[in-house]
């Protein structure tokens, strides 16, 4: 198993370099360093000298990927790409183009992100699993049929509708909680309820339907018939046998997104004005702050790879047939 993990970590390095390169190229196809400087300096003070000065301060005065004037290896190392990317692998995110410490920002802003993402995940999971088990218990009846119709309807509605509808209904009409904003400590709770509820509700359609499919597939399997033939009651069959097996894809589906919870949700956070990492990323894109975008994309890929490795490990814990070689 340790050899397997080591191999996976080694495989991750070229992937991360690739992702980095891709982000880099995509970003600089749209913007040149000059554009960035102009954007940051504002319209009034832009002189060619100021642009050069801005670029030099932040290390954007080098060539992008290949330095013709360099010697040997320096042709590749003395470039924006190399200089800016290498530090990422030490998890040193540097300063943003507007001069803030990105590492510090991340450590501050991940907590609001987690405060929304974790409850949304847990409540959603519990709700969806319960719902799916209920529908499967009533399979081939009208309960299941209309339940499925409802789920498909919920799934077909755009996520934005849930956000705007939720804000309108709960915040504007009922005046239960504020529409958006954030506070520190326990006071944050009243700002969190609405995004969490919206997040859970918007996930019921797809989540419930997916879990229902998983349970239904298991219920039709031969070993379930064997369990019934032993004389087990329906509850024992469902929880002792069906649930145990359906848990494997459910659990691993959850484990893979666990690390990504840190990243927060781009849409929910910006709509509800939550100062998490999601809105941080959106803002950075709008301000064309390459340092932050790159750091967040890098972090996202690292966490995703971590999620995949954790998934593999979790398979070995829940499924006796799987061993990592």
């Amino acid at each position: 198993m340790s050899a397997y993990l080591l191999r996976r970590v080694l495989y991750a390095i070229p992937i991360l370099i690739g992702v980095n390169l891709l982000t880099f190229v995509l970003f600089f196809v749209v913007n040149s360093p000059d554009d960035m400087a102009r954007m940051h300096l504002g319209v009034k003070r832009v002189t060619p000298a100021a642009i050069e000065e801005w670029k030099r301060e932040r290390g954007y005065d080098r060539p992008l990927l290949y330095n013709e004037r360099g010697e040997g290896l320096a042709r590749f190392t003395d470039t924006i790409f190399f200089q800016k990317s290498l530090a990422l692998f030490r998890f040193d995110f540097g300063t943003s183009d507007s001069g803030r410490d990105i590492g510090y920002d991340i450590s501050q802003r991940m907590w609001p992100s987690l405060a929304i993402a974790v409850p949304t995940l847990l409540v959603g999971l519990a709700l969806n699993v319960t719902l799916a088990l209920t529908l499967v218990f009533f399979r081939a009846t009208y309960v299941d049929f209309w339940g499925l119709v409802g789920l498909v309807a919920l799934m077909s509605i755009s996520g934005l509708f849930y956000i705007i509808g939720g804000q309108y209904l709960v915040g504007k009409l009922l005046h239960l909680v504020p529409i958006s904003g954030y506070d520190t400590g326990l006071a944050a709770a009243k700002f969190l309820i609405l995004p969490v509820v919206v997040g859970v509700v918007s996930g019921i359609g797809s989540g419930g339907r997916w879990y229902r499919t998983l349970f239904l597939e298991e219920v039709g399997k031969d070993y379930v018939r064997t369990a019934r033939a032993k004389g087990l009651g329906e509850a024992r069959v469902m929880f002792g046998h069906v649930f145990r097996n359906a848990l494997i894809p459910i659990l691993t589906g959850v484990v893979v997104i666990l690390p990504l919870l840190f990243m927060g949700s781009l849409i929910v956070e910006s709509f509800f004005g939550i100062p998490g990492l999601g809105s941080y990323t959106i803002d950075a894109i709008q301000r064309q702050d390459f340092a932050i975008v790159r750091a967040m994309v890098f972090l996202g890929s690292v966490l995703y790879i971590l999620g995949l490795i954790l998934t593999d490990i979790s398979y070995t814990l829940v499924d006796p047939r799987v061993r990592l070689e």
Partner: protein, 661 residues
Amino acid sequence: MTAPALVVRDLSVSVGGSRVVDGVDLEVAAGETFALLGESGCGKSMTALALMRLLPPGGRVRSGSVRLDGEELLDLPEYAMRGVRGGRLGMIFQEPQTSLNPVLRVGDQIAEAARLHDPAADPRRRAVELLAAVGIPDPERRVREFPHQLSGGMKQRVMIAMALAGRPRLLIADEPTTALDVTIQAQVLDLLADLRRETGMAMMLITHDLGVVAESAGRLAIMYAGQILESAPVGAFFAAPAHPYGRMLLAALPTGERRGGHLAAIEGRVPSPDEALQGCRFAPRCPQAEARCHRQPPDWHPVGPGHRVRCHLWAQGGHGAHVDVPVAKGPGAEEGAAAPLLETQGLQVHFPIRKGLLKRVVGRVRAVDGIDLHLDAGRTLALVGESGCGKTTCGKALLQLIRPTGGRVLYRGRDLAALSGRALRPFRRELQIVFQDPFAAMNPRMLVGDIVAEGLVAQGLAKDRAERRARVAELLERVGIAPEAAARYPHEFSGGQRQRICIARALAVEPRLIVCDEPTSALDVSVQAQILNLLHDLQTGLGLAYLFITHDISVVAYLAHEVAVMYLGRIVERGRVEAVLAAPLHPYTRALLSAVPEPDPASRRQRIHLEGDMPSPADPPGGCHFHPRCPEADARCAREYPPLRTLSSGRVVACHHVPDG
């Protein structure tokens, strides 16, 4: 007959509106084995599930009564039925692979049943005892294992142990050995017979296999399209089956005596359960049907003691009842032609096993390990062996579908293994393959006509559309399918018809050799006979050579000229079919043949018991591969692999202890 353990009267079951079981009556006495025989879709499994009250969603019992020891089961409330299910009424299923819960330890799965039905005993101890009772070595260790760590035969033993946990009065075994190899099947059937004798339980054996019935049952009932057509003591039935369907089933079995002739295939197909049939259900396929057969359902008529039949022919004592079974002797098998069409020399297919950080090769699976075969034009060579012996890999390696890792494959003198993909193209035309599962072998989204024409197009054999269409129609007709089928999709056809279409596809490119990989093992007996007849006719008509890969000895006896027996990637015995089957020399061949159930209760012989399972080809035992299971092994066998020797009779055998002469 002693007091019946189970009495079923007038049981009718419908699933989704169609009547899959229609007025079934049967009785099973305590301590006897009663066989319910029928082809797929006849309703035998549904009958069993109805007894257990485990019908699939949409299924329900419409009428009838099921009494177990006098107690009516159909009236019991569900909670009381749960006490019966897995208790006095146990059931085991066809697929041991999928019938155990993959994430639970086998001990826990058995203990679960013991806890329900035997609360006094310690369930863990019971699990160990039961595993020991079903002959699993080292039960203390095995209870802690997961199903995937056990072989197929062991899993079926675990299923049996689970059913025994409730000390059943009646054990329903639904095709318990169909998914197993013959030598393992023999072990499981023996185990069931022993357990029945020890515990006095009754057994209801549901099967399609006449051989299994003849070897292990006392009485049988034949089911067809939801009804029982004949019920009889096993001896009386095999001596003189009364119902035309029963007679035709027996006549459809391939055997050595029927070589060179046609098998009595039953034309047509089983009616689907939602077809409304007025008269006898078998009338559309019965060669002796009369006018009244189509109008009026036949009554039960007595034939002999305990033997009755549902057929109009027996209304007057049954003297007119006899079935013409055409066994026309075709042209006999002519002697070997001149030059061999195909020859392999030391054919090897090894798969690397990779492990560790750098995926180094740490070993190899010797799937095919040095095989010499020899096939003449227009002849059939059967490659026989149990699952995992490498026979399918060998077939694919011949066609270069898997590239051999060593040895030569000489086709008309050219070494195919040495040819590149492009140079192989012309040979692809002459060598074709037909697979076991005809449905998986066809693209479900392609029309049958296009499937058949694929090869024509790839090989540039048809100049234009019209010619292609004419050729497809001709091919379909040749395999007995109406040419209109070309415009339909594969799912509209039955298994047997699909296999015909696959054969037509192979024939399209005018091959000289067809590798048939278990082409009939997914089919019912009557349909198997149709396909075997077709293959036989094609061989005599077109001079095709077949490499017939199979585990079914009766098919070998009927169709093949030469046979090669494989064990763990190597040939252990090779020779002419009549000679090998009549007097097998290698201990493995002998055991294999003795394990095959004969459809003739008069010839119940002593089986040669093989202990254990076939070892893994990744790690074959040293010395003779067969020595851990061989009844005749000695010290030398554990040391040296016996060389293949050609005896003076021409037989080729790899065994130290076979004398020449």
